[in-house]
């Protein structure tokens, strides 16, 4: 059977497939990366997501969407799941789901909130909490493709313990040429941090972002409140709204 050459096109992303967990990695005390083996995976673009479906013995199904975290890598698909208190799906995926166990996955889906590794325009990534996941796929894909587009990532978290991919981001800050990473801490700052905790604001985007004259493509991802605030700041600073792409994560767990 011919695989589609273009990720997400036609039926490749529309059928449910069974896949199994190969490895689980703790990112924080409450977030876990799932490394899934998905036979026949057609590839994906960074920014795309999958729908995951769990079926209980009595036939009850629950479905959630998760952003793909990794760059294209054969049949491997990585998702980073945040445990939400009383979240029936997230609690299962973070605490219970074990290596070798099956789940159903549909994807890749989503053609709007994507970055193509052939693009050369500057990119500004704004991550709120778990919104880092699809943006990390973009950072990883950029490196994997040898792409030199200037990337700036601004990552807002509550505390330093909430940072996903912390060690990898430190390494990429050193080694990925043309990538800058800054952090905004909203509740507790790291030892030695000169500023008090604060929410992302206009001065931060002015300093750590790209000037609108550079015509960057902006990707904003996180809880709805974060996305609304940041989008408004970007447009207020003069960024072209057509170059601001957003993905809002919901409170469902």
């Amino acid at each position: 059977m011919a695989r589609t050459a273009v990720p997400g096109r036609l039926s490749a992303g529309l059928t449910w497939r069974v896949c199994r967990l190969v490895e689980g990695r703790a990112e924080t005390p409450t977030a876990r990366t799932l490394v899934l083996d998905v036979p026949g995976w057609p590839g994906h673009l960074p920014g795309q997501h999958v729908d995951v479906r769990l079926t209980a013995e009595d036939g009850y199904t629950a479905q959630r969407s998760y952003s793909i975290a990794n760059a294209v890598d054969g049949d491997r698909v990585e998702l980073t799941v945040q445990r939400i208190p009383d979240g029936e799906v997230s609690e299962y995926l973070v605490d219970v789901y074990s290596v070798g166990d099956p789940i159903e996955i549909r994807g890749p889906v989503g053609g709007w909130f994507v970055w193509r590794p052939t693009d050369t325009d500057p990119v500004l990534l704004l991550a709120g909490g778990s919104g880092i996941v699809p943006l990390m796929a973009m950072v990883r894909s950029r490196r994997a493709a040898g792409n030199r587009a200037p990337f700036r990532l601004i990552y807002s978290v509550r505390t330093p313990d909430d940072v996903y991919y912390a060690e990898e981001l430190r390494q990429r800050q050193r080694d990925d040429r043309g990538l800058d990473v800054s952090y905004v801490y909203t509740r507790a700052v790291p030892p030695g941090w000169s500023a008090p905790p604060r929410r992302i604001d206009t001065p931060t985007l002015n300093t750590a972002g790209w000037p609108p004259d550079f015509m960057p493509n902006c990707y904003v991802c996180g809880p709805t409140g974060f996305v609304e605030t940041v989008s408004n700041i970007l447009v207020g600073l003069g960024h072209d709204p057509r170059r601001v792409r957003t993905e809002r994560f919901g409170p469902s767990g």
Binding site: G225, R245, P251
Partner: protein
């Protein structure tokens, strides 16, 4: 991620966006429509499906115009069928690849 203790329906920001319609609408359209541009029947402004406000506190998925909040799309999925209400959408402009594939028989 923020976890509210209030009922979701009462929370003003309890919406996500049309990015998550990619899978459910993909079943109906057999392609990704999140990049399709919809024109609101109420205010006539346009936005990408991905930019619609998607609410979950109703049976199925409800998408609202980000400009005027009118309902532009409803999708209910049941066993063996999907029911799509587009009365709130005047038109959908769907990007398609420029070239046709030639199918050999």
């Amino acid at each position: 991620m923020a976890q509210t203790t209030a009922p979701i329906a009462a929370t003003p920001l309890a919406f996500t966006d049309g990015n998550e319609l990619a899978g459910p609408l993909g079943e109906v359209f057999a392609m990704d429509v999140t990049s399709a541009v919809g024109r609101c029947a109420s205010c006539h402004r346009s936005c990408a499906v991905a930019q619609m406000r998607v609410y979950h506190n109703a049976p199925g998925l409800v998408a609202r115009c980000p400009s005027c909040q009118a309902v532009v799309l409803r999708l209910v999925r049941g066993p063996g069928r999907a029911w799509l209400d587009l009365r709130g959408t005047l038109s959908l402009q769907v990007p398609l690849p420029a070239e046709d594939r030639i199918v050999r028989r």
